[in-house]
């Protein structure tokens, strides 16, 4: 990487072509990460306070999410699996 090296415009154009946009749906899913993390925090707080919910969550995560009013979004499920004990 020679940032100070003079560069011709043909090379600049080649480098611009190296970075096409990622698919829009991927970008949007990644941008929603904070909302997923907040939903996971809510679920884990509930599990902390309610032993019965905690048991259901460990036994059947997706069903427990539905019961708690959350869509079992795969990203939420994945986040919870990683954060639950033994995950």
């Amino acid at each position: 990487m020679n940032e100070k090296t003079p560069m011709d415009e043909v090379r600049l154009a080649e480098l611009l072509r190296e970075l096409p946009p990622a698919p829009e749906a991927w970008l949007q899913a990644a941008q929603e990460r904070p909302a997923i993390a907040r939903a996971a925090d809510q679920v884990l707080e509930l599990a902390e306070a309610d032993a019965e919910f905690r048991r259901t969550l460990i036994a059947d995560l997706e069903e427990a999410l539905r019961a708690a009013g959350h869509e079992p979004d795969p990203r939420l499920v994945d986040t919870l699996r990683r954060r639950l004990p033994g995950g």
Partner: protein, 187 residues
């Protein structure tokens, strides 16, 4: 907010403070980099998407561990490369290029080119929004003069000269910038 003038380090600090708009900017800013690294490893589309999402999930979870906020780019690069290698090993579909092999050398050169391309994109942030858009549409999205003319309400005959002018400005901006941070700052 116009994020173009905001440094990577400032975006990271705002993300850490819980600013959702900053997080969206961070994803937007590094999405092409992560996507390009996954493509360089020749992952299939499903695996590329997994790596893409997993990279941003880990960035979100571990942003607090970054020792130097301005080193976010090399950290993201390392993280993405590691996840690509893990994916190749797990799939056992394509052999992971061995250190010192010709294939490994080709991959390294490809990754160096991608890093250089990211530096060019960083320089692009100092250009006007109009220049950024026309260069992006023509070179990165591969749109024709006619498509760009229709979308930006410009006569197609003027597109080539605008691209040339903006490319000249980009060249000046790129040659005038200082180098990026090179060390990873993860704790």
């Amino acid at each position: 907010m116009d994020w173009a003038s905001v440094s990577d380090g400032e975006v990271v600090r705002a993300c850490r403070a819980g600013d959702d708009a900053a997080w969206r900017e961070l994803v937007e800013r590094f999405s092409r980099y992560v996507f390009a690294i996954a493509r360089a490893h020749r992952l299939n589309e499903a695996d590329s998407e997994d790596v893409f999402q997993e990279t941003f999930a880990r960035i979100y979870e571990h942003l607090g561990r970054l020792r130097d906020d301005d080193s976010v780019r090399p950290w993201i690069g390392q993280l993405t490369r590691r996840l690509c290698i893990d994916k190749l090993r797990a799939a056992a579909r394509d052999p992971v290029p061995e250190d010192g092999s010709e294939e490994h050398g080709a991959l390294d050169r490809r990754l160096e080119t991608i890093d250089e391309a990211v530096s060019v994109r960083e320089a692009m942030r100092s250009l006007s929004a109009d220049c950024r858009e026309i260069l992006d549409r023509f070179f990165c999205r591969d749109q024709s003069y006619n498509t760009i003319g229709d979308l930006l309400d410009l006569p197609p005959g003027t597109i080539a000269s605008r691209i040339s002018r903006c490319l000249g400005k980009l060249r000046a901006a790129y040659e005038g910038r200082s180098g990026p941070a090179s060390a990873s700052g993860e704790a």
